[in-house]
């Protein structure tokens, strides 16, 4: 099953050029947690030099998902695809650990890993829908009313869909491509049922899942697609455009707490988004930001990827690394729009004397001419 990705693994085995951005490798300083180390492990297993056991399988399921490495790859190797394929192979062989299996069960049964509840079906009809997802629904619920208020301020009434459903990335990363495709397809089917032609997305991760991975979770998806995928746009992009066009405006806050913007998990996968979203934040903040070192093109994830389930201790280290970066910048207030990033930062922020603020809520509080 690895035939399609073996050349990538062999190339990554001989290359070390993404170590400087490989998230888990950076927080552990261990070679095994880099694409090079992981590719060497897999190719060595194929040569009979390593065996699959709890330790080695655990290593394979401890890398995030290869996104940062792919973004910075010197020769554009699709390591993320190779990694997903290796995990899928381990899943098929029944070697994935209990945590991964449980994640599969939850995603299959409830379409999300957080709550034993099925997604709420979209009601009404409209050409524009907002994908609420599971992270906004269960991790940072203040997001959705704030976004609806902001959209209303620019004259958009939207249908909320996918409330409580994962965008498919967890399943994809963990080695369940068919399940990932099912989740993705379920949202598109729901949109079709309400007549939506455009899908608004709350985070870089959602945008990546829907826009860049469309049909890519599993080959059968595009063949069985019941609707053409709609246009996808991040809410932050839409608001930034409307702000630039003068169609929305904000009052600056009077809070001069030193602040920073945290580029969320998966942000590096969406080119140039970092400038657009910063334009929004500076519209409401009265002082310049304290920038993180790991920002923009070199932004690093918090522990909000699927390794929060497979390797929670590593996920925590990723989050703490971002908080330490923020602390070193002198910031006391961390602003971000991604519900999952906010949730994970907020879990430990107090230990560092930091406060976390959702960008959508902040914008909704400061929007001019809208009650």
């Amino acid at each position: 099953m690895l035939d399609n990705v073996i050349s990538t693994l062999e190339n990554c085995r001989f290359c070390l050029m993404c170590r400087h951005v490989a998230p888990v490798g950076m927080v552990t300083n261990q070679e095994a947690y880099t694409p090079h180390g992981m590719a060497l492990l897999v190719t060595s297993q194929q040569r009979g030099l390593a065996t699959w056991n709890a330790e080695t399988v655990g290593i394979v399921f401890s890398e995030v998902d290869g996104g940062n490495s792919r973004t910075h790859c010197a020769t554009d190797q699709p390591f993320e695809e190779a990694l997903a394929a290796v995990r899928a192979e381990l899943v098929v062989q029944g070697l994935a650990g209990t945590a991964v299996t449980q994640l599969h069960t939850h995603l299959t049964q409830w379409h999300n890993p957080y709550q034993p509840q099925l997604p709420q079906s979209a009601t009404g009809a409209g050409q524009v829908a907002l994908f609420a997802g599971d992270e906004a629904a269960y991790l940072w619920p203040e997001t959705i009313p704030a976004v609806l208020k902001l959209l209303s301020a620019v004259g958009m009434e939207v249908v909320v869909g996918g409330y409580g459903r994962n965008n498919g990335l967890f399943a994809h990363s963990a080695g369940f491509p068919d399940l990932a495709a099912q989740l993705w397809q379920a949202t598109l089917d729901e949109l079709a049922s309400v007549g939506a032609k455009q899908l608004l997305l709350l985070s870089a991760g959602d945008f990546y899942a829907f826009n860049d991975r469309r049909g890519g979770f599993s080959r059968p998806v595009s063949a069985s697609a019941k609707v053409s995928p709609p246009d996808f746009i991040e809410v932050t992009d839409l608001l930034a455009e409307r702000l630039a066009a003068g169609e929305i405006a904000f009052r600056k806050t009077e809070d001069e707490t030193p602040w920073t913007y945290v580029d969320p998990t998966h942000a590096v996968r969406v080119p140039e988004r970092h400038e657009r979203v910063r334009g929004l934040v500076t519209a409401v903040m009265p002082t310049p930001p304290r920038e993180l070192f790991w920002r923009k093109e070199r932004a690093q994830p918090v522990g909000s990827t699927y390794i929060q389930f497979s390797s929670p201790a590593l996920a925590e280290r990723l989050t703490r690394a971002r908080l330490q970066d923020a602390q070193a910048s002198g910031a006391q207030l961390l602003i971000c729009e991604d519900p999952a990033t906010l949730h994970h930062l907020n879990r430990y922020a107090g230990e560092y004397g930091l406060r976390v603020q959702g960008l959508y809520e902040l914008l909704a509080q400061r929007v001019i001419g809208h009650q």
Partner: protein, 475 residues
């Protein structure tokens, strides 16, 4: 090593660094079994079990390293310093097992002095991360190694590395002012604050090029520069390699300060340049670059171009130079770089201008004629230029080497014998910037002749039990 010894050592190491910073996991031992040296990589590629380190230890301070070395002396077990593992010479391969000392936790920037233009950092900091931090202040460490994304500061210094722009800014060893070093017997020393003085013998440079055999570099203060306001690149094509070398010599001896001269021989031009940059050309492709104040850089470029044109060069303009700059590291990484199942080696050397072209032809002839039956390819480029000479970065490639690992090693070593003999007989050094490691260790005695026993005595004095990186650099 007996199980009892293993557990004794492990428990003592745990007392120093803590349990979480020691690994004996199968996956870790495998990943740390080889650096980029072809030989151990081939061994792995053929499915043969490599020599594994017994322990991978991640110290967080120089004091911890000192304590680890004391334990290693007690048990007489090898210690191999490991930074990024990007070396091509086997310098970080644990050929006798022992402790793999991964220094990447020593990754703090301690000071950026914007008056003296220096940065002091721990030796395990990643090269690109350090560069990003300097760039935030408009500064740069002008050691642009192709391995920067994975290599560490200590790894720049230990093998006396050169970066892409060394022709103007020097080798890594030219940028370092002082270092903190843990000696093999556990003493922590700091070299004098500056390297250029008359305060007695210069022991500072002993540690540069020692590749961990004389101690562990744990901290360094490096000279940095302002990011240049302009960076001008252009390419010139020569039909005659000798004329191209003459042009490069004039650029250097007339001190026109190119930050790079990269001259590909016709074989490299026809293969590497075509593959990575997409240019199909006959001849020797040369890229030259000038940086700094725009008007000064432009004048240097103009004068240099005049020299090239007078020697028969054809100006290709800026785009082929800038494209090379943008893709300069792509020559080294998959799928463009060297790869298996090939047998390959980079037999880079350095010598003075009077010997340079002769050495090139002598090595090329020796390798191509001796191994013609193996369809060997010999390619080379000239880089890392000095006022007195330049480096020849030459490579042999055998597309279809013996499949049997032991036979492949024999052929590999025979080719190296041939290539290095050609170097030594024509006035070259066995290496310019990759270091010695395991690969060239056996040539050190020939290189240094009567001076070699002196180096051996120094080694014995510093490392009486021979624990530090055994089998490397001739020791």
């Amino acid at each position: 090593m007996t199980t009892l010894q293993h557990e004794m050592i492990r428990s003592e190491l745990e007392e120093v660094v803590g349990k979480e910073y020691i690994s004996t996991r199968e996956s870790d031992r495998l990943v740390y079994a080889t650096d980029w040296f072809w030989l151990p990589q081939m061994w792995l590629d053929r499915g043969a079990q490599p020599t594994l380190p017994d322990f991978i230890v991640h110290p967080g301070t120089a004091v911890e390293i000192a304590e680890i070395l004391k334990i290693a002396n007690t048990y007489r077990i090898p210690v191999v310093p490991w930074g990024g593992g990007s070396g091509s010479q086997g310098g970080a391969a644990p050929v006798f097992g022992g402790i793999m000392l991964d220094v990447k936790r020593l990754n703090r920037i301690l000071e950026i002095d914007e008056t003296s233009l220096t940065v002091t950092a721990e030796a395990g900091i990643n090269g690109s991360v350090l560069e990003w931090a300097l760039n935030e202040k408009g500064l740069t460490l002008p050691h642009y190694a192709a391995s920067a994304n994975c290599a560490t500061l200590g790894g720049y210094l230990a093998p006396r590395g050169s970066g892409t722009i060394s022709t103007k800014y020097g080798k890594a060893e030219d940028m370092v002012l002082n270092m903190q070093i843990v000696l093999p017997t556990g003493e922590i020393i700091r070299t004098p604050i500056v390297p250029d003085h008359a305060g007695g013998p210069d022991y500072f440079h002993l540690f540069l090029g020692s590749e961990g055999t004389f101690g562990v570099i744990t901290e360094a203060t490096m000279q940095v520069d302002y990011l240049p306001a302009a960076r001008l690149l252009r390419a010139v094509l020569f039909q005659n390699l000798g004329h191209a070398l003459g042009a490069g010599r004039q650029l250097m001896t007339r001190r026109l300060s190119p930050f790079v001269i990269r001259l590909y021989d016709p074989a490299s031009t026809a293969t590497q340049v075509k593959k990575v940059l997409g240019y199909e050309m006959d001849g020797a492709y040369m890229v030259m670059g000038f940086d700094g104040d725009p008007d000064i850089a432009a004048l240097q470029e103009q004068k240099s171009l005049e020299i090239c044109l007078a020697l028969g060069g054809q100006d290709l303009g800026r785009e082929p130079g800038e494209k090379w700059w943008d893709h300069r590291y792509h020559f080294y990484y998959p799928p463009n770089g060297l790869h298996f199942p090939w047998m390959y080696g980079t037999t880079e050397t350095v010598t003075t201008f009077d010997k340079l072209e002769k050495l090139y032809w002598a090595q090329k002839r020796a390798v191509e004629e001796t191994y013609a039956d193996w369809n060997v390819n010999y390619i080379g480029h000239f880089s890392h230029w000095f006022h007195w000479g330049a480096s020849l970065y030459s490579r042999f490639i055998i597309p279809e080497p013996p499949q049997e690992a032991e036979e492949a090693i024999r052929l590999h070593n025979r080719i190296w014998n041939t290539a290095i003999t050609a170097v030594l007989e024509n006035g070259g050094m066995i290496n310019e910037h990759h270091g010695v490691g395991l690969k060239l260790s056996r040539f050190m005695r020939r290189q240094y002749g009567p001076a070699w026993p002196m180096l051996e005595r120094i080694k014995k004095t510093l490392d009486p039990n021979g624990i530090m990186n055994p089998g490397k650099v001739g020791f």
